[in-house]
Symmetry: C2
Subunit: 246 residues, 2 copies
């Protein structure tokens, strides 16, 4: 007799489905067995099956599509989108994004003035509380399939005594050419983090349950290593990868 499985039934169901998704029994993009079939197979009620499915949804291994059922997602598939990170400089000195993605603003971007919070002041090497021009944009590409939240921060101190003291400069990437005009040669460092989205981020980026964010911070620096500006990107962690040349 095989040893008795002492796990709760909903977890046994989650384990059974997880193993099936990982070994290809339930291929990515295909529907899982129905709740009814699973309830019968494990001798449980449908709420118990649903509890097992909830656990898998939270781990990003299945996706529930309204009115169509529950579909397997493979953690091994290569993402459809590769997002090359970098900034190019053309022979005429213009800076452009190396990503080759045509982002468009899904909503009118907002420009505000914020005070530098501690964690950002640190990256910009300015005193916490220093005022910043802040631009927020929700951008889409590829017919809305790709979405990102893009924020640009420009410390007032960087613009002191320049023509942008009165009229703020454009947000990145146009910002780079404005900075170049002020005589800066630009260098870039990116910091990549991840975490689960906050509810408003999950909604704006249309994230399914169990999909974390990629959080990218780009610092623009002078040749001497002085930070000038900061950008924050929040991207869906599903079906997307960032690419960096080392």
């Amino acid at each position: 007799m095989p040893p008795k499985n002492t796990q709760p039934k909903y977890r046994q169901i989650a384990d059974y489905l997880r193993e099936g998704i990982l070994d290809g029994t339930f291929p990515a993009g295909q529907p899982l067995p129905s709740e009814e079939a699973l309830a019968k197979q494990f001798g449980v009620t449908r709420p118990t099956v649903r509890q097992g499915l909830t656990e898998l949804r939270a781990s990003g291994l299945v996706e529930a599509i309204m009115g169509r059922g529950t579909f397997a997602r493979s953690p091994y598939n290569r993402p459809s989108f590769t997002y090359p990170r970098g900034v190019r400089r053309s022979p005429d000195g213009q800076y452009t994004e190396a990503d080759g993605i045509r982002w468009t603003d899904a909503e009118k971007p907002t420009a505000t003035r914020t005070d530098a919070p501690l964690a950002l002041a640190d990256l910009l090497r300015i005193p916490p509380g220093e005022p910043l021009f802040t631009y927020d944009a929700l951008q889409t590409a590829d017919q809305g399939y790709l979405r990102q939240l893009h924020r640009t921060y420009v410390p007032f101190s960087v613009l002191l005594g320049t023509k942008y003291e009165e009229t703020p400069p454009p947000p990145a990437p146009q910002l780079y050419n404005a900075l170049a005009e002020l005589g800066h040669e630009l260098h870039f460092t990116e910091y990549v983090r991840t975490r689960m989205p906050l509810p408003d981020q999950a909604q704006a980026l249309r994230l399914a349950d169990g999909v974390p964010l990629l959080h990218v911070l780009r610092v623009t620096l002078t040749t001497a290593g002085k930070p000038l500006t900061l950008e924050e990107l929040h991207l869906p962690g599903h079906d997307l990868e960032l690419a960096f040349g080392l």
Copy 2:
């Protein structure tokens, strides 16, 4: 009279705590109000409070520490560890990791032979199923606080007709010097992805609930852009960031 909140109570509790964590009412690293206090405040039973806390744990905003209670985590804090990604070449031609972290193997690394799965064959530009030398290591640094899963893949075809055909080469980063000895000049591309961990990864990396993985794939290429080897890193998405010079 304020409009009646129609959300279920457990969600109202989760929203209340989330807002408090985000606005600093419940500072990062500090304990949240007790289950008892929350039950009283919202007029609910403790299981309902726990349901609200479970939701916040899944989103990585609180951490339950056995026997000590539930603590707030800020999504805004700068991580304690910055992990610079890159490979340096010393004047004598030796390749070394630029991370400056002293990783040690927590367990004896395992060497196996695997067949290239589709998603990796694609990155290595070899036919799916081609045999690979595969090394697996669980590595720790900083007195065990930092943990990573490190896998190195070397296609047999890269070693054909070399002295490593019989005795496999060492895993990365020593591998780089073995490849350099074979006459290759090396270039590196990294792909960064994220997702929720599988149960064995969560255990090996000691991840709390609601903490995603950073998944890094490093491809080592020749000057002509031919992929030679592949490394896979799985890192905790908590309290850690990757840094890239663009």
